[in-house]
C-alpha cells in the first residue's frame, strides 16, 4: 500500500537544480575591489601608532635625498598642486585615489616596501584617506603631520620643527573651563548645575539601557 510516488527521481532533479542555483550564487558572488584588512578594533589601535605618522622634520631627510625610500603624495587637486607643492611630491587628487592607474601604483609601492607619505592642505585633509588606506592594510602609508600649510611656513628650516610641537594636534590650546567661565556670580550657580547635568544624564541613559524597552 504505497500511496505516494516512491521514485525520488523528480526530487533529485529539483534538489540538483537547487544546488546549481547555490553554486551559481558562489560564482556570481563579486569579489569586492577593496576589502578591509584591519578590523575596527585594529583600526582604532592603529590611530595611536606613532609609526603611522610622518613628522615635518623627517621631511628634511627626504628632501635632501638622504632618505630615498619615501614617496610624497599630494592629495590636493591639480590646480592647487601646480601653485606650489613639496618638491618631488606626486599629485594624486583625493578624488582619483581609487582609479586603477593610481591605486595600482600605490599597490606597487606597497609591495616594494616604499613608504608613502600623504599630505593635504592640513593634516585633516589627508587624515581620512590615510585612515582608509591603513584599514585596507597599506601599512606603508603615513600621514604628514601639519600638512602643506605647516611645511610652507617652516620650509626654511624643517629640522628645527623637532622642538616645535604646534603641528601635533589633539591638544587643548586653552583652558576651556577657565575661558568659558561665567561672567558674573549669579550665573556661576547656573554653571554649577550645568556641570552636573551631563553626569546625571549619562547615568540616566545607562539605566534605561539595562531596563530594556
Amino acid at each position: 500500500m504505497h500511496v505516494h510516488d516512491l521514485n525520488p527521481k523528480k526530487t533529485l532533479v529539483v534538489v540538483i537544480l537547487f544546488v546549481m542555483i547555490i553554486i551559481a550564487g558562489f560564482f556570481t558572488l563579486k569579489q569586492p575591489r577593496f576589502k578591509y584588512k584591519l578590523s575596527l578594533e585594529q583600526s582604532l589601535k592603529m590611530l595611536n601608532d606613532e609609526e603611522a605618522c610622518f613628522h615635518p622634520w623627517q621631511l628634511a631627510d627626504v628632501l635632501s635625498k638622504v632618505n630615498s625610500n619615501v614617496v610624497l603624495v599630494d592629495l590636493r587637486d591639480n590646480f592647487t598642486y601646480s601653485r606650489g607643492h613639496i618638491p618631488g611630491a606626486e599629485n594624486i587628487s583625493a578624488y582619483d585615489l581609487t582609479d586603477d592607474k593610481y591605486f595600482d601604483h600605490l599597490k606597487e609601492l606597497y609591495s616594494k616596501g616604499v613608504t608613502v607619505v600623504l599630505y593635504g592642505k592640513d593634516r585633516l585633509q589627508a587624515n581620512g584617506p590615510w585612515m582608509w588606506f591603513r584599514q585596507l592594510g597599506f601599512d606603508n602609508i603615513k600621514v604628514l603631520l601639519g600638512g602643506y600649510d605647516y611645511y610652507k611656513e617652516h620650509k626654511a628650516d624643517l629640522s628645527k620643527s623637532k622642538e616645535d610641537k604646534s603641528y601635533i594636534l589633539g591638544k587643548p590650546d586653552y583652558n576651556y573651563s577657565e575661558m568659558a567661565k561665567p561672567v558674573n556670580s549669579s550665573a556661576s550657580v547656573t554653571k554649577k548645575n550645568k556641570k552636573k547635568t551631563p553626569v546625571i544624564r549619562r547615568k540616566k541613559r545607562t539605566t534605561t539601557a539595562s531596563g530594556g524597552c
Binding site: 500500500m1 500511496v3 505516494h4 537547487f18 547555490i22 550564487g25 558562489f26 556570481t28 558572488l29
Partner: protein
C-alpha cells in the same frame, strides 16, 4: 536585494496578486503531497504514514539552508525579514492545545482548505471549528489578556537566545531530519504489515 516588498522593489499594489499566487503554489503542494487527507496526516502519529514528517522536515531544512546561502550571496537580507515573536508561556500552551486539535481534527488550517477544495466534508467542519474556536478565544480574551501577553522575549531567533550561529542549527536540523527519514522508512514498513488498506 531581497526581501522585495520591505525593500520597496515591489510596490504595495502587487501585494495581493502575489499573495494569491503564493497561496496557489502552497495549496497545490499541500494537496499534491497528500495533505488533503486527514488519515494521511494522522498517520504520522501511528507510524503508518510519515508523509507529514517527510514533507515538513524536508521543507524546513531546505528553507533553512537555502536562506542562509541566499543571505550570504546578498540576495535576501535575513535581518530584514519578519521574525515570529516569542511569548513563552502562551506559546507552550497554544501548541499543546493545537496538538490536541491536530490529532482530533486530522488537519491544520492550511490543509483543511485544500481538503474542502477536493470535497471533504470533514475539512469543512474543521474550518467551521477553527472559526468557532477563534471566535470563542476572542470573546473570552479579556479573561486571559495578561496571560496572552506574558513571557514576551521579543522577535528573537535561536541565535539571539543561544549565541550559536544559525548555520549550526541548520546543520543539526538537517542531520536529525535525514536520520528520521531513514528510521521512519523502516518503521513504516513494519507498521504497514499489520494494517488494513484504507480507502480515500
Amino acid at each position: 536585494m531581497g526581501p522585495l516588498i520591505p525593500n520597496g522593489v515591489i510596490t504595495g499594489e502587487w501585494d495581493f496578486v502575489i499573495a494569491i499566487l503564493l497561496g496557489i503554489a502552497f495549496g497545490f503542494l499541500l494537496e499534491a503531497s497528500g495533505f488533503s487527507s486527514s488519515r494521511n496526516i494522522a498517520g504520522v502519529f501511528y507510524g503508518y504514514n510519515f508523509v507529514v514528517l517527510r514533507v515538513f522536515f524536508t521543507a524546513v531544512i531546505v528553507a533553512m539552508t537555502g536562506l542562509l546561502y541566499f543571505d550570504y550571496f546578498g540576495w535576501i537580507e535575513l535581518d530584514k525579514i519578519f521574525i515570529l515573536p516569542t511569548y513563552l508561556a502562551p506559546m507552550i500552551l497554544g501548541s499543546v492545545i493545537m496538538g490536541f486539535g491536530f490529532l482530533l481534527g486530522g488537519f491544520c488550517p492550511g490543509t483543511s482548505y485544500t481538503a474542502i477544495a477536493i470535497g471533504k466534508l470533514d475539512g469543512i467542519l474543521f474550518t467551521v471549528g477553527l472559526f468557532i474556536g477563534i471566535f470563542l478565544f476572542s470573546e473570552a480574551f479579556p479573561l486571559f489578556e495578561d496571560f496572552y501577553y506574558s513571557g514576551f522575549i521579543g522577535n528573537v531567533t535561536l541565535t539571539d537566545v543561544t549565541g550559536i550561529p544559525a548555520g549550526w542549527f541548520a546543520f543539526a536540523f538537517t542531520v536529525i531530519a535525514l536520520a528520521s527519514f531513514w528510521i521512519t522508512m523502516i518503521i513504516e514498513k513494519k507498521v504497514r504489515k499489520n494494517i488494513k488498506e484504507y480507502k480515500f
